[in-house]
Amino acid sequence: MNMIKNASSASKKAFLNYGIVIVFFIVFQTLVSTGNITSALKGQLIPIVCYMIMAVSLNLVVGISGELSLGHAGFMSVGAFTAVIVSSAMGDAANPAKLVVSMIVGAGVAAIAGFLIGIPVLRLNGDYLAIVTLAFGEIIKNILNCLYVGIDEKGVHFAFNNPDALGMNPLGKVVINGPMGAVGISKIATFPAAVILLMIILIVIQNLVNSRTGRAIMAIRDNRIAAESMGLSPMKYKMLAFTVSASMAGAAGAVYALNYSTLVPKKFDFNTSILVLVFVVLGGIGNMTGSLIAAGVLVVLPELLRKFSDYRMLVYAIVLILVMLVTNNEKLKGRIDTFFKKFRMNIAKGGRKK
């Protein structure tokens, strides 16, 4: 009986998330097509969706699987640069085909990276695991800094740490130029395509979480030893969550890359990983709805703070600290609750007087 109740409340939550995404899409698509949107917000739609995907996929690792990852941006960059290579190599193919293939290959390569990195990482625990994910994020960035890729009519050429070793014929085009990154990417990402990807990812995550596998992952998170004694293999299930999450970050990276005409490895450094982690923590660990909303709000927030000009990032930092203090300190929370209660009562009183 209880089980059924749980299941139905879980699916309700899932449908809430689909609803949010669909409403989000319809509202903004209408605004865009009727021209009632500022260019600032219009330009941010695709990055917002990318960060939403990053947030829900990181939430799968941090919230559902219970491992603190500080290198999620690394997988995004793997997907992003893979997408740049794939879309350039496909040459004259139709844009939607290029986009889809780039996303799939980007996700695939990021999944392989996730699997390989997961082998050492998932043997560790707690803060040690966190520092190793941070280390891998930095390693990915450094390796991409040394990667040179060129395309000519013979195909794709790779070189490592030495741009002269590409061996291209003079007509070839350098697609990825080491630390200077990719230049001249054709911008083929579209808002509807990004939203469809987000929907697919949400469906995959929510079905995974509510499945037998998902319950196994959460059981391992809550009590590894108990779960292990029930015959569950922690390595297998943690690896599954980690790899799936990496592949989703890769897909998000692919869309992100194809929305800008240039991309540098430095973009996906430690700070970007932290940014996504902030979305997850503020939205609520394990709460996908929260991740979606927090990502949306916090990507737009610094843009709205532009009128503070020089004080912009200072205000952002203060807001971040205050939100953490207010939501995590019992005393402060109590005070705010009573404040709101009083506030409500005052309003009610005021209403009666009239």
């Binding site: 260019s39 219009k42 800008y260 929260g290 709000v297 939501t327």
Partner: protein, 402 residues
Amino acid sequence: MKKKLLSLIMTGALVMAMTACGGNGNAAGGNGGSGSTGNGELTGTLKLGVIGPLTGGAAIYGNAVANGTQIAVDEINARGTGFTIELNPQDDEHDAEKSVNAYHQLQDWGVQAIAGTVTTTPCIAVSAEANSDRVFMLTPSASATSVTEGKDNVFQLCFADPNQGSASAQYIADNNLATKVAVIYNNADAYSTGIYQTFKAKAADLGLEIVSETTFTDDTTDFSVQVGDAQSNGAELVFLPIYYTPASLILQQAASAGYSPKFFGVDGMDGILTIEGFDTSLAEGVMLLTPFSADATDDLTANFVKSYNDKYGEVPSQFAADGYDCAYAITAALEFYAAKNGGLDVTGMTAEQLCDILIKVFTDPDFSVDGVTGLGMRWTANGEVNKDPKAVVIKNGVYVGM
């Protein structure tokens, strides 16, 4: 659950509050015409945007450009000719994504032309957007060739990278400064790598032997390995196609390693004497090619340096000078057009109309600008500027022409 809800409400409320007070800043609707006043004069108010890193690790460059542009705008507005500029600098944190956001913010504000962006990677991203939206861009300092490549609306005020590298090699060879040369460059930076590549090619033609080539990236502060490599390979001259902040570290670390070769820099080196607290004796004898030197005695430069110093309390760098010239170059171009076409009122003109005008003027062979970074600057159709670098050497803490 309650906890999470509260946090969401908190952030949500904040965002609401901010959108609510910022929604009505839209551009005033124009009268729609490219109005000509008939008397050959330029009138109206131009909405000029500046995009650059005002915060973060590259903030020094963005702030210098924004300040330099501000000085020029103040001067132009004070002329009382009926033409004024409204300036709007936006921060991009030296990040392509934030830069495109800043560009869109400027569009909402009703920007008519852009002086920017300051750094190369964001500039490539923004110029792609500006190219399809038809917004004119004059970048003060993004020097890579990929900034202007294939975009008719993007022009550079600084040298394109290839010119500087070959000019430096030529200068070193012509003056017999050295035969064994070391190069330390930033391979994460298109500017530095671009100059290095042309320098290397030219050096090979001229018989200069490059005995040590070492690289670093933006986060590097320890140059002991790079300096040691140049030293152990017996380089007589170290070529530094880099900005002055890392250059100051290299000079200091070479001195503490007891290594004193000749140092030769490019325009990014300008500013090294203005670092607060820098021991200028370390820079004694450093040579550089630069379009701007704050110690020049001509009226234009002296006046700019004085205004800048009065307002911001520091000596302007080459970036500030580039920003200053950007505002004047755009103004000069509009005046040029106004004079030829019986006047121009820029108020309410669309960015697209201005873009066409400015492209036409900048590619006009008769159009040239005298600025603090060069006299008689002219532009080619692919957006590059033609001007002469000056070679200077640092003696007793000041630049001396060579």
